[in-house]
């Protein structure tokens, strides 16, 4: 056995060396051709597929989340819009009501003013008419009574003084 352990003693060293080298290389090539290649390809394909699926799932989830948040926003917006529409309508109604009321008030005021003015004017007209009548009347009366012709202008100033007296009495 000791002889066997001395490497140089074994005469077949080179042959075995070469044989194993060649056998191993051929074995490696065969394994690569028939088993390693296909299996490795499949393993790579599988890992690529898993990565792709994970990415896809991730994208899908993000999209779904985005969609959900968009929907929520839209819902929130529509609610706010509805509230605003109602508020606007209310305000419009309020404004219209106020405008109508104002207009009515203004109309009524105008009518009242006009009536007041008309009345005042009628009164003034009547007063003027009365004034003229009284003048003429008093002149004719006076001329009849005293048979004395008074100048119309004197008479008029006399009547005016009476009338003034009369109206001051009236205002008192």
């Amino acid at each position: 056995m000791a002889k066997y352990l001395v490497l140089g003693e074994q005469a077949s060293a080179l042959g075995d060396f070469l044989f194993f080298l060649i056998a191993f290389i051929i074995l490696t090539l065969l394994v690569k051709r028939f088993a390693w290649g296909p299996v490795m390809k499949m393993m790579d394909a599988r890992s690529a597929k898993i990565t792709g699926d994970l990415d896809y799932a991730n994208d899908e989830r993000q999209r779904a989340e985005k969609l959900a948040s968009e929907k929520e926003d839209a819902l929130k917006n529509s609610r706010a819009e509805a509230l605003q529409i109602v508020a606007t309508a209310k305000e419009n109604g309020e404004n219209q009501k106020k405008a109508l009321l104002d207009e009515a008030h203004a109309n009524a005021e105008a009518v009242r003013q006009k009536a007041k003015e008309d009345a005042k004017k009628a009164k003034e007209d009547a007063m003027n008419e009365v004034r003229g009548d009284v003048t003429d009347l008093s002149v004719s009366i006076a001329s009849k009574l005293i048979q004395k012709e008074l100048s119309a202008s004197d008479q008029e100033s006399l009547v005016d003084s009476y009338i003034k007296e009369l109206s001051t009495d009236e205002t008192k």
């Binding site: 056995m1 074994q10 005469a11 077949s12 080179l14 194993f20 191993f24 074995l27 394994v31």
Partner: protein
């Protein structure tokens, strides 16, 4: 251990028939194994493909533990074949010890130092080749005076010790296992039926242990191969 190996001469080179036949048998068995396991390669693996992928992942893990990055990629196949071949070689001798006419024909090829040295030499050559390829010839040579110049002789000796320990560790383990197995066989046959029955459980225990040793040694050989290769490719 029977040392009466048959030797044939071919083209002026002498071949040890036992080693060659055993190695050939181991290679054929490895090929048949992976061939059968890889017949139906699908995206959803069946049992056979799962098993094969488990072995591949295991050997890839060995490479990755030495070379974590992409630089380990060229060695995945090498580690796979080395592991399976050495594993199969270690186990052959436990099941099969064929002797014809006083000449052993089939035994564990790894029980011969020449065979283990052939395997170790392959690894060492690969490590030097990839060392030069990766670092350039200058970087490769500079590796011998690291960390300081006067360590050059030690670094040179280390190359040989790496080679020797890698090969002789495997050889020693498997050779010792076979020697004990043969001795137990002789003991069993020495005194007829009594020793036969008595030694049988011991043989079984030792065979089981040898299976374990053979697996461990295949793993150790592959791991150390990758460590030696990665050390040559390391940048410091």
């Amino acid at each position: 251990m029977n040392e009466n190996y048959p030797i044939i001469e071919f083209l002026g080179i002498r071949f040890n028939v036992t080693n060659c036949l055993s190695g050939l048998l181991a290679a054929i068995l490895v090929f048949i194994l992976v061939f059968i396991l890889s017949r139906k390669v699908e995206m959803r693996p069946g049992k056979a493909q799962n098993f094969l992928e488990w072995i591949i992942d295991f050997t890839n893990g060995i490479v990755k533990s030495a070379m974590p990055g992409d630089e380990g990629r060229p060695f995945y196949l090498y580690a796979f074949v080395v592991f399976l071949f050495i594993f199969m070689s270690n186990q052959i001798g436990l099941l099969l010890q064929v002797t014809i006419g006083g000449h052993p024909i089939i035994k564990s090829p790894t029980a011969s130092p020449i065979v283990t040295m052939a395997m170790a030499l392959m690894t060492i050559l690969l490590s030097h080749y990839y060392g030069v390829k990766k670092m350039g010839i200058g970087g490769y040579l500079k590796d011998y005076i690291r960390p300081v110049g006067f360590l050059l002789p030690i670094n040179l000796i280390e190359e040989f010790t790496n080679f020797l320990t890698l090969s002789l560790r495997l050889y020693g383990n498997i050779f010792a296992g076979e020697v004990l197995l043969v001795l137990l066989g002789k003991l069993a046959a020495s005194m007829g039926l009594i020793t036969y029955v008595g030694v049988l459980p011991i043989v079984m225990i030792w065979q089981g242990f040898s299976v374990f040793i053979g697996s461990i040694q295949a793993y150790v050989f592959t791991t150390l191969s990758m460590v030696y290769i990665s050390r040559k490719m390391e940048e410091e």
